[in-house]
């Protein structure tokens, strides 16, 4: 009996360790890093690593907001165009001699307003989040083109504006600092606060949440608004890095942002959108972009390579989880 029980306890422990497979995607990220550092000697250079972080900073900021929104089980497909409009509006106001504070506040308010409209359509009218945000996304893009005429906004931007995208603080590039602040804040919100718990509760079982007295509409709305704000913030930082307001600059955010969240859902807390997972997802995307770029491959090979590596990375993590 005694021996038997011990054996069984051991089995339980092994079973527990199999939850190691939830770090599969993290191992995949490490594997991609190792492969690139073998193929390209420039990859592991400190400059390049900082460069990767800088490149993914805006994507990560968008993806963090999307993570919170998707934790309530709502999609926000307007993030790309929100970022685009925030970028051109902020630069446009700066170019026309408005104050820094006002211009940035106006850029961020694009996110707030988009979030308010999205949440109204989703939680009060009751439209599905995909359709609602697809619609607002198109409207926002139209406004963007109406405002810019489809041309980039540049010239005469105050020097200080470049600080957000190109500057640095204590030797650390500003966008990386902003990304870190957003990551830490969101991680804290989702994992340590009542807000975060209720966001996951609404996403997990909306009926049970309602019958537990959780204000479902409120938490969904706030999550959608946060997604708008982070998208706008990313748009402003990106405009600062590019040194101009590019009307279509934010459009890659949507697919890459969703990609980061979905990749993230395979790890740390499998099945649930989560901040650390999203971070891993954004890193995978950033590392792949950077690595393939360093290899000097034609752009279309890079696109194919990126798709293949993303699928392989997630497949290796998910495959073992079955059964």
């Amino acid at each position: 009996m005694g021996v038997n029980t011990k054996k069984i306890e051991k089995e339980i422990r092994i079973n527990k360790n199999s939850s190691l497979s939830k770090y599969g995607t993290v191992f995949a990220l490490l594997a991609v890093i190792v492969i690139f550092s073998v193929i390209s000697d420039r990859f592991m250079a400190p400059d390049n690593l900082i460069n990767i972080l800088r490149q993914i900073s805006t994507l990560t900021i968008v993806a963090v907001g999307l993570t919170i929104c998707m934790a309530t089980n709502d999609f926000d497909l307007s993030v790309g165009n929100v970022a685009g409009l925030a970028g051109v509006l902020t630069t446009g106001l700066l170019v026309t001699q408005h104050s820094m504070l006002f211009s940035i506040a106006a850029g961020l308010s694009v996110g707030v307003i988009a979030g308010l409209i999205n949440s109204f359509l989703i939680t009060f009218i009751g439209i599905g989040s995909m359709i609602a945000t697809l619609g607002t996304s198109s409207i926002i893009l139209g406004i963007n083109f109406g405002y810019t005429g489809g041309r980039a906004v540049y010239g005469g931007l105050p020097d200080f504006f470049y600080f957000f995208g190109r500057g640095s603080l204590f030797g650390i590039p500003t966008p990386i600092i902003i990304m870190a602040i957003v990551l830490i804040t969101a991680y804290f919100l989702l994992n340590r606060t009542v807000f975060g718990r209720y966001v996951y509760a609404v996403g997990g079982n909306i009926n049970a949440a309602r019958l537990s007295g959780i204000r479902v509409r409120y938490y969904r709305s706030i999550a959608i608004i946060i997604s708008g704000i982070t998208a706008a913030l990313a748009g402003i930082v990106l405009a600062s890095r590019l040194g101009s307001g590019q009307p279509t600059a934010g459009q890659a955010f949507l697919m890459d942002g969703l990609g980061a969240v979905f990749i993230g859902m395979t790890t740390i807390k499998p099945g649930q959108p989560n901040i650390l997972g999203t971070m891993v997802g954004a890193f995978i995307i950033g590392v792949i972009n950077n690595g393939l770029n360093l290899l000097g491959l034609p752009f279309w090979v890079q696109d194919i390579g990126k798709g293949v590596i993303m699928i392989l990375a997630v497949a290796s993590a998910v495959y073992r989880n079955q059964k």
Partner: protein, 502 residues
């Protein structure tokens, strides 16, 4: 004696718990074999292993003496094993026919042959002696009808071994009788059945042999002639249950919650009234479709009312809603706990703290130490097994899930005033039932008013001080304990007798 199915030395561990330990089971040709045990004893895990939904860590399964191993339920189906699982796995947007033939469609060159399927389903229904609407999406059917569809689906595979996991929980007496006659027919034709039920009278009536599981181990396999109900209960929970319905006698206080002539917007409740006093247990009885669940949802503010008043502590509630209900100490433990009460992928602790999270938070930040401490206390008080607070709720058994779905209203020693239990013991075993009854009694003795909705008439009679009977959206009367009789309550519920109206 040919042994159709033999299960040998099955062991299965889940993270943090050992679900099965060295379990044997054998099934003869033409036998109905009962499988009983408390919640969490491992019954569902065992049948999941037999059907290939789970793979065992150790042990073997033999059919006709040959070892088999199924990688998924499909392989089990083709070997003649069908299961009607405890928890529904119907596709709610598909209709009855589409669900019955799911994965087994009649088709010519890939084109679905609906006619053949319909006539085949009709034949099956005639054999069963049941009649279910097969062209409606199953989400529009009630739980009993859905269960019948699942049984039809399982039988459609012409199984040699049919596994029925709690099939009767949502059934009326008539439907249960139909099912039993089908089981008899199947037995006569040489099929074998593994029958899981919490109703031991059903088990003793239908089964040839009975295997009792306890804490993942087999206690015994008995012939039905050699065993009695109390003996089985004793083997299941290792203690005698003296009083099946422990009734605490407390004299009721003043009225806390009252509803007058309430009608709901969807027309399921037309004119229903009730009042609940402190320390009182009032039962609500009614047949399927009487509007009981809808009525108590209205009492909890979860369903809009278009007529009538809800009065809390003597005050008529304006714009009554869930938040006001909870704020005034009214709680609802819903019938369908999986879709309406539990956060299945969250931990036990996160489920327990869900409602009153603010009481252990400061400026919105959760005090995790207080959360763990309070959860452990509740887990201990309610005897939730396994007792690990970080366990994911989906891994718990039915009875323990029920304790969690109820426990959230007691978090942090919260004293609520009204507890509305909607079918609290559905799918819950004998031992856990008595635990539930004791909890309900304790709440009442501490001054809470209890509303108990149940389809189990013995349960309502056993526990209630008064019973309110509903019929087709109306409250047809209230009976005091001294006048309780099954016949009277049933005839009121069927609308053949109007009781004393308040």
């Amino acid at each position: 004696m040919p042994c159709l199915l033999e299960v040998k030395g099955i062991t299965k561990a889940f993270p943090g718990s050992l679900a099965l330990q060295n379990v044997d089971l054998d099934l003869n040709q033409g036998e109905i074999h009962g499988l009983v045990g408390a919640n969490g004893a491992g019954k569902s895990t065992l049948v999941k292993i037999i059907t290939g939904a789970l793979s065992p860590d150790r042990g073997q399964i033999l059919i006709d003496g040959k070892e088999v191993s199924f990688n998924d339920p499909r392989e089990a189906y083709s070997s003649g094993i069908s299961i009607v699982p405890q928890e529904s796995n119907l596709i709610f947007y598909f209709d009855g026919i589409e669900n019955i033939f799911l994965g087994n469609e009649a088709a010519n060159f890939g084109i679905i042959d609906r006619k053949t399927m319909e006539s085949q389903a009709k034949r099956l229904m005639e054999q069963l002696g049941v009649d279910v609407e097969l062209s409606k999406p199953v989400r529009e059917l009630n739980p009993a009808q859905r269960k019948l569809i699942e049984i039809l689906r399982a039988l459609n595979y012409n199984p040699r071994i049919l596994i029925l996991d709690e099939p009767t929980a949502a059934m009326t007496k008539n439907e249960t009788e139909h099912l039993f006659s089908v089981m008899d027919k199947l037995r006569k034709s040489g099929s074998s059945i593994i029958f899981i039920s919490h109703y031991l009278d059903e088990i003793l009536r239908m089964c040839d042999r009975i295997t009792i599981l306890k804490d993942g181990k087999k206690v015994a396999t008995c012939n039905k002639e050699n065993v009695t109900e109390p003996e089985i209960v004793k083997m299941m929970i290792n203690q005698d249950i003296k009083n099946q319905f422990p009734k605490v006698q407390v004299s009721p206080g003043k009225v806390i919650l009252e509803a007058r002539n309430v009608a709901t917007a969807d027309g399921t409740v037309i004119d229903a009234s009730i009042d609940v006093k402190e320390s009182e247990i009032i039962g609500i009885f009614g047949l399927v479709g009487a509007g009981r669940t809808e009525f108590v949802e209205a009492l909890f503010g979860a369903r809009r009312i278009i007529k009538g008043d809800i009065i809390l502590n003597g005050k008529v509630m304006k714009n009554y809603n869930i938040y006001r209900a909870i704020g005034s100490g009214v709680t609802l433990i819903p019938e369908d706990r999986l879709s309406n009460a539990l956060f299945l992928s969250n931990s036990v602790m996160e489920n327990l703290s869900m409602v009153y999270l603010n009481t252990i938070s400061r400026i919105g930040v959760i005090n995790s130490r207080a959360e763990v401490k309070n959860s452990l206390k509740l887990i201990d008080n309610l005897n939730i097994v396994p007792s690990y607070p970080h366990n994911i709720v989906n891994n718990l058994s039915g009875g323990n899930k029920q304790k969690v779905s109820f426990g959230k209203w007691l978090f942090g020693n919260r004293k609520n005033k009204v507890f509305i239990f909607d079918e609290p013991t559905e799918g819950v075993d004998v031992g856990a039932k008595v635990e539930m009854y004791n909890i309900i009694g304790k709440l009442a003795s501490e001054g809470a008013g209890i509303i108990l909705v149940s389809s189990d008439i013995e349960e309502v009679i056993g526990l209630s001080d008064r019973i309110m009977v509903m019929h087709e959206g109306y409250s047809v009367g209230t009976i005091n304990r001294e006048n309780f009789s099954q016949e009277k309550i049933l005839s009121m519920a069927m609308g053949t007798e109007v009781g004393v109206r308040k």
